[in-house]
């Protein structure tokens, strides 16, 4: 299924919800924290394109990673009398405040992908970060164990995201859960990135210098793969599967770069958030609430996700949004 087909399917969802009972198209406020990575860009595009093509009006607000500004923007949307709000929040705490603010003003709200700390209010569409991260890590753990002798202690390195972000915490938990299954075999090395390539570069260089033997690596976001390559390549550690010195690498997001690197053999697995499922779920739920006149819909919709690996690449490739983008020529633009 190509990108066009994915958007068409989403448009049917949005159009169906709007034609089902609404006499007029809805006005939706879409407030996002920023668009720093491929995942957020693709998510933003999926939501705005789908709503616009279905005849709804979209008011977009970019908070530039400022939680206070996002709160003000949502208040502004409420003052404009929007029918519903979709947010990608900056963090879990600010999301809770914004959801409460919107519901108190009788405006239904959906939170996309980054969950509030309080899941009891609002429509919350969230990937099961811990389970997805665990599935991807399981795959590289098995590879690392296969490559090692029985008695050797192995080093498992994780690049952690911003620990103020619940997604980063969930991914770290998933990684640790996978390692815990073989606790006696692994030392864990944690490297902070704060979702910043420069920070990740500096810290990863330090970690690899301090621990030259890395047996597996997990990055909490696929957008850091180019940074990982910059550290490993000069040290002769950036190898494809089957080459001497290959380090099993795993990530999470499912972006186009990760898809390319899995195909090339550098990356073994990545946890995939089903972007189109999440966008479709958020749109369906918010439009249904508007149609039903429900101003405070509360629902948690979980994206189970999956791990795309070297083993299931042939069957599941086009279930990953990054591979869809890749097939659409995203990396060549």
């Amino acid at each position: 299924m190509n990108l066009l087909t994915k958007f068409a399917a989403l448009a049917v969802v949005a159009g169906g919800a709007s034609l089902g009972g609404q006499a007029q198209a809805a006005t939706i406020c879409f407030a996002f924290q920023d668009l720093e990575t491929e995942f957020w860009v693709a998510g933003h595009k999926a939501i705005t394109t789908t709503l616009t093509e279905a005849g709804h009006q979209v008011i977009e607000r970019n908070a530039n990673e400022d939680a206070n500004r996002q709160l003000e923007q949502v208040r502004d949307c409420v003052a404009q009398g929007v029918d519903g709000i979709i947010i990608i929040p900056q963090d879990g705490d600010s999301a809770t405040t914004i959801v409460r603010e919107a519901q108190d003003a009788d405006v239904p709200i959906a939170v996309f992908n980054r969950p509030p700390t309080d899941l009891s209010r609002g429509i919350v569409v969230v990937a099961d970060n811990a389970t997805i991260a665990e599935a991807a890590t399981d795959f590289v753990v098995e590879q690392a164990l296969e490559n090692a002798t029985e008695d050797r202690q192995l080093n498992a390195l994780i690049i952690v995201g911003d620990l103020g972000d619940p997604n980063a915490v969930g991914r770290r938990d998933g990684f640790r859960a996978a390692i815990a299954k073989h606790e006696d075999r692994f030392n864990v090395i944690e490297v902070a990135s704060n979702w910043d390539a420069g920070t990740a570069l500096a810290n990863l260089e330090a970690a690899v210098t301090a621990n030259p033997q890395i047996d597996l690596m997990f990055t909490s976001s696929d957008f850091l793969f180019p940074t990982i390559r910059s550290v490993l390549e000069p040290r002769g550690m950036w190898k494809t599967a089957g080459e001497e010195g290959h380090i099993p690498l795993a990530g999470l997001d499912g972006d186009a770069t990760a898809c390319q690197l899995i195909k090339d053999g550098y990356v073994s697995a990545t946890g995939v958030q089903d972007l189109y499922f999440e966008a479709e779920s958020a749109l369906t739920a918010i439009l249904a609430a508007i149609e039903a006149g429900d101003t405070a819909p509360n629902e948690v919709i979980e994206d189970p996700g999956f791990a795309l690996t070297q083993d299931n690449l042939a069957e599941r490739e086009m279930d990953m949004w990054g591979c869809v983008l890749l097939a659409d020529g995203f990396l060549n633009r």
Binding site: T37, A192, A207, A210, P226, E233
Partner: protein, 337 residues
Amino acid sequence: MTSLAERALDAAVRHATYLIFAAVLLWFGLQSPVFLMPESLANIVKQSSFIGIAAIGMTFVLLTGGIDLSVGSVMFLAALIAGMVMRALDLPVPAGMVVALLTGVVLGLINAFFIVVLRVIPFIVTLATLFLFRGFGIWLTSSTQFDFPPAMRAFGLSSILGVPLPIVVFAAFALMAHVVLAHTTFGRQVYAFGNDPEAARKSGVKIAWVQARVYVISSACAAVAGFVLIAQIGRLDAGFGEGREFDVIAAAVLGGASLMGGSGTALGAVMGATLIQTVKMGLVFTGVNLYLQPILQGAIIFLAVLADGLRNTRMRSRLRRTIRTVEPASGPAGRRI
């Protein structure tokens, strides 16, 4: 007569930042001996280069009592424009670096225009351009990542006589800035402006021209800093450089630059950036809990700034003690020296 102990204390206070730096090195070295290996130390300097180059430029601005909050956005936009020009004209990487530098100059001129010509205070101008420059860059890329040609990473990972290129660029900028500040008329004018703009103006310094140039220098340094880091990664993301202005200002202040203007050196900025990076790297080497790392970083930086504050206080008090009334040999009227 000053006792030996007092002189030792004076020396310790005067070089507090260096002593803290040595203590930090020693502490982390004891925790993890690999930390003191040449590769690790070179790595610290290499990773300091990004913030260090920008901190050198920031020092010029701080010396005039100004501030430049737009450096993080300049890093992003200048690197992006350089990449686009490189791709469009098929330019080699060194030429791309020149394009980044020139872009930084243009962005600095925009800041300077509002500050010097329209007399808007630097904080407001550079806060506005922080959003303006980043917004422009995000508009150019539609938030998608920008991949540089493969030659870019080869350049970023290259070395000259065994010294990694980022360190070479860092050293070159530090040396140039040191010479300019310590040995040129312009350098003396920058200090004069920072100490008392009105007095500098009355003594014939073209203060508008001096002020404009420091913002151009700051942006040019930030642009090169961004290019140097991106040369190592090969890909520019929309979040690149975001929030880096705080690291840059912290490095300059830690190196002895005063937010009030008039004091600071280029080599101090080098020391400040390297100290911050040493702490960060040391925490990684010793495997400190990720939740504790920002707390420890903040504590060590606070300690260094506090020591710097104590040094300034002590130096001022010692200078006061030298002011005394003396009787001239030929008359009763005293004079103050």
